[in-house]
Structure formats: C-alpha cells, structure tokens
Amino acid sequence: MTTPNTTRTAGVTNPTGAARPEGAEPGPRTGGSGASHGPLRRLLGAQPLGLGLSLPYILFLATVMAYPLGYAVYISFFDYVFTAPGMDMDHPFVGLENYRIALTDPRVLQSFGNIAVFLVINVPLTVILSMVFASALNSVTRWAAAFRVAFYVPYVTASVSLIGVWMLLFSQDGLVNTILGPLAPEPSWLVNDALAMPSIALFVTWKQLGFYILLFLAALQNVPGELYESASTDGAGILQRFRHITVPGLRATTMLVLILSIITGANLFTEPYLLTSGGGPDGASTSPVLMIYQKGIQQGNPDVASAIGVMLVILVGVLSLASTRLTKER
C-alpha cells in the first residue's frame, strides 16, 4: 500500500492539479530551490502546492459556509419568497421588518423561552455529571474500557434510534410509568406541558454526555498526579481533592464544554420534532430551529426564518461570551 504508484498519485493530484497546473507535476522544484519561480514564490509562498492541495477545502468553505452565512443575513433584511428556478422576483428591502414579525409572534417567543428552560437544565447537568464521571473513570483501573464504551455508546448512536426507544420508555403506559405506578405524572412525560421540555433536556444530556466525558478525560491527563499525592499526604479527602485540584485543573475544558453544550442546545430540532411530535403539547417544547423549519420551509417564509436564525446565533454568541467570563473569573 505504501509502494509509490504513479497512477494513484495522479488520482490524488487531479482535483487540485486541474486548478493549479504548476502544482500538478510532482517534482523537486515545488519543495526545493525554485529560483526560476522567483516572482511566483514571492506571490504564493515557498510551496505554492499547498494552495493547490487546500483549494477543494477552500472552495467548500466558501460555497457551503461563507456564502450561505452571508446569504442568510441578507435574506433576513428583505421580503423574500421561494421562487421556481429561473423565475426572477423582486425582493424589496424591508429593514428590520422580519425581525419585528418574528419578535411579535408568540410561538417564536415561546420557542426561545423553551430553549431557556432546556439550557437551565441541560448545561449545569452536563458540566457536573461529565466532570464527575470523567474523574471517576480516570481513577479506576479495572473495567475502565468497558465503562468508557458504555458511556460513549449513546453518543455515537443516531438520535432517531434512541428517540424511538425513549418514546416507548416514557409513553403513558411505558416502562417508566409502569415502575412509578401511582407516582407517574398525569398527563404523561412527553405530552405534559410542564414536563415535555425537561424530558427533552434529560434525553439530550444522557445522549451527549459521553462526548463531554471524553473531553474531560483528555484534560485530566494533563492534571499532574503528584498534586493528588501531596494532597493525600496532607490529609485531603476525596471530595476536597476533587474541589481543589480537579475542578481548577479542568477550567479550560469546562469552558469548552459549556460553550459546546450551549451550541448543541440551541441547535435542538430532532428531539422536539420526533419525541414530542412537532414541539407539543401546544408548543411547550418547540425550539427556535423547529420554528426556522416551520416558518422557512413549511410556511415558505425564509426571510422570517433567517431573522430567527440570526437572533439565535447572536444569542449563542452572547451566552458563550458570558460563560467564557464566568469560567475565567472563578
């Protein structure tokens, strides 16, 4: 497999080489002394092939990230409707009108309120549980691999699969209610307007926790073991060591986990769409992304949907910034 094979090398070259003919020809001059390419080298750097190799990725970022990002912001300021391909329609500038429509829609406001409920439950639970489980995993030697696999498995599994299971577990006559008996909530978890969103928050916490445990486990490798040993000698108990060594040692990762769990929460769509059949009951579990889908694609108002998207991103930015400050000052 490692034997040089010209045809295969050419195959790798092709997509990039087409765009940059100089780079397509493998030869020592691209990496070596390129005296004859003086001006070119000054313009593109010592190894212009790098640009050629990165070109597909650069094009990808431009077409799939940068352009749609700009377009989303653009649409949000115009009166925009979907048109058949080839049809030209006027898209008059309407300023903040789409934002006004979104902000005066009680369903949209409700969806932002729901996401607040979600974050209040999901984010602290995620941070605390993943930190505790990672530290616990880090200090056991037996069965460590088996425990790790158990924690990661929900994370690698499709939401749709697990939602199918949770629907049966938490339905009216599901296993959870059978076990709870008279203690079961009425109406049941997913159709109860006070419990629907917390149920979703718990599902997402459970599903994603393995990923955050993984991040904390990586960070724990960098906390010096001598710290624990000297603390033990000084008579610190397990809780004291956790509080004074583990928690401060994991500060940078805690910040990352906070931000990532906020972003994940803001992106919530599949769970309200499936687990509570479209954000029910009565909108109690709609999410902003579900609103973007409903407004933009079901009701054909991509302009209002884009305005919701822009507001959501600004909100995530503000929350991420706030959590950065919070973890720094502590």
Binding site: R8, T9, V12, P15, T16, E25, P26, P28, T30, G45, A46, L49, G50, L51, L53, P56, Y57, F60, L61, V64, M65, P68, L69, Y71, A72, F133, S139, V140, R142, W143, F147, V153, V156, T157, A158, S159, V160, S161, L162, I163, G164, V165, L168, D173, L175, T178, L214, L215, Q221, S232, L256, N267, F269, T270, S277, V289, P302, G309, L312, V313
Partner: protein
C-alpha cells in the same frame, strides 16, 4: 490505589449504576425488537419466550429497509471519501507546506467551528434544492458535509507531530511534495485515518435534519429519515407499531455501535479533543 477501600467500592458502584443507565435503552431496544409483542412491564424486560424476527419484516413492509440502508451507506461513504481525500490534502498543506494564505485559512477554520449549521439551513436549502437542482440526489445530500473541518484539524495535528527530518530526507532524495504526501506522510498517520473514519462515519449515518429537508422521494431517504417518517406518520395507523419501531431503531443503531466497539481504541480523547479545540 490512592483512595481507601470503601471509597473505591463506592466509586465502582457509582460507575456501574451509571453504565447501566447508559446501556439499558439499548437492551430494551434489542429485546423489544425480537419480541412478538414487546411489553413495557418490568417482568417483560426478561422474556422467556415469544422470540421472533417478524418485527424486521414488519418495518421492511412500511419502509424499504434495504433501500434505506443502502442510501445511508452511499451518503456516508460519499462524505467519508470527500473528507479523507480533501481533508488529508488540506491537513498536509496546513501543517507541512509554506504558502501564502495558510494562516488565513487556519483562522477561517477556527471561525467555521462556531457557525451553527442551523443558520445555514435555509440558504443552503435554497441553494442546493433550488439553484443547483440537487434535491433528492446523493450529491445534494453529501455536499454540506463533504469535508469535515474537525477531520482537517485532526490530520493537521498528526502531520505536525511527524519529524521534519523524514520530509527533508525524502525531498533530498528527489521526491516531489505529492510523492512525500502519498508515500511518507499518509502511511505515518494511519491512526489519524482510523480516528477520522470513525468520527466522520457517525455524522452522516446519524444525520437527520439535512437529508430530511433535501429528500422528499421515499426511495432516496437514508434510514434515519425513513424511520423518523415511520415514527411520526405511519406508526399511529398501525395496530402494534412498537416492535417495528424498535426493529428499525436496531437496524439504524447497530452498524455504528458495532463499528464503534470494534475500533473504540481509535476513539481517543486527545485526538478528538485536539480537533475540537483546534
């Protein structure tokens, strides 16, 4: 070793309880999928009879199971191929080659990690389904995931860790950069290829929202979308849908879970952490 015995036992009890909470739904899924009439009583969790494969036939009647699995495979392999080919090239260029724009690209990549897909959903849908006419095609499904930025980070990280002398030696021997990349650099980062394959596989295989938007034709839908449609629309009209839902859930979950269990040693914290943190 560091903690005293009672604390140590507590630790194992805590971990074991948590592990059960994490694995139990999978047990429920598999047992239920193989039962004639999956019940939701504690006793029903340990069935002694009534084993059947009927549920898989039932779900196959409602959603074309094999076709949907095939769609998932094509979608996932397309993303994997794109990410490995272009990601290795970009990762190598970003770590080992000096060219103008390298710094800018790296900064852009860090920024990209912050852009939520959901903001791009509407314009991407307009572009891909409208302007490019790629609705109900694999190309339209694959395009937004073609190159995974986290994978580029991981490749860059691994290439950076290789000693410069190996590259120098190859160049002195007259190898061109592409030859160096193909014959020296890529074989040395095989663990990175395994890690990236694993994490990239998870994405499109489990992805719901984008293929759900872009495929209206049932014969083009990946299994996650087909199963979701079954759960939200068809299940209500069927007498006993639970077994079929669980059978579909198994079909969607098992390939990734098996792949993960086989290659879990490549699912390592430091590599993925490096990718996420940049």
């Amino acid at each position: 070793m560091r903690t005293r015995t009672p604390a140590r036992i507590m630790l194992y009890v805590l971990l074991a309880l948590a592990a059960v909470a994490f694995v139990f739904p999978f047990y429920f899924m598999i047992v239920g999928a193989l039962q004639e009439d999956p019940t939701t009583t504690p006793a029903g969790m340990f069935p002694i009879g009534g084993w059947t494969l009927e549920n898989f036939a039932l779900i196959d009647e409602r959603v074309p199971l094999l076709r949907a699995l095939l769609n998932s495979v094509v979608f996932t392999l397309g993303v994997l191929l794109g990410t490995l080919t272009f990601g290795l090239c970009a990762g190598y260029a970003l770590s080992r080659l000096h060219w103008r724009g390298r710094g800018v690209l790296f900064v852009v990549m860090l920024g990209v990690q912050m852009v939520p897909f959901q903001l791009l959903m509407i314009p991407l849908y307009v572009q891909v389904a409208g302007s490019y006419g790629l609705g109900d095609t694999f190309a339209g499904m694959i395009l937004p995931f073609l190159i995974n930025t986290t994978a580029v980070f991981i490749f860059r990280q691994f290439f950076l860790a290789l000693p410069e002398e190996m590259f120098e030696a190859a160049r002195i021997d007259g190898a061109g950069e592409l030859r160096v990349l193909w014959s020296i650099a890529i074989p040395l980062v095989r663990p990175a290829v395994a890690t990236v394959t694993l994490i990239t596989f998870i994405g499109p295989w489990n992805e719901f929202l984008w293929p759900f938007l872009i495929t209206k034709d049932a014969t083009m839908q990946p299994l996650a979308v087909a199963l979701a449609n079954y759960i939200s629309n068809i299940a209500q009209t069927v007498a006993n849908p639970n077994g079929a839902i669980l059978a579909g859930a198994c079909a969607l979950a098992l390939p990734v879970v098996l792949l993960f269990c086989l290659f879990q040693k490549y699912f390592t914290a430091s590599d993925i952490g490096a990718g996420v943190k940049g």
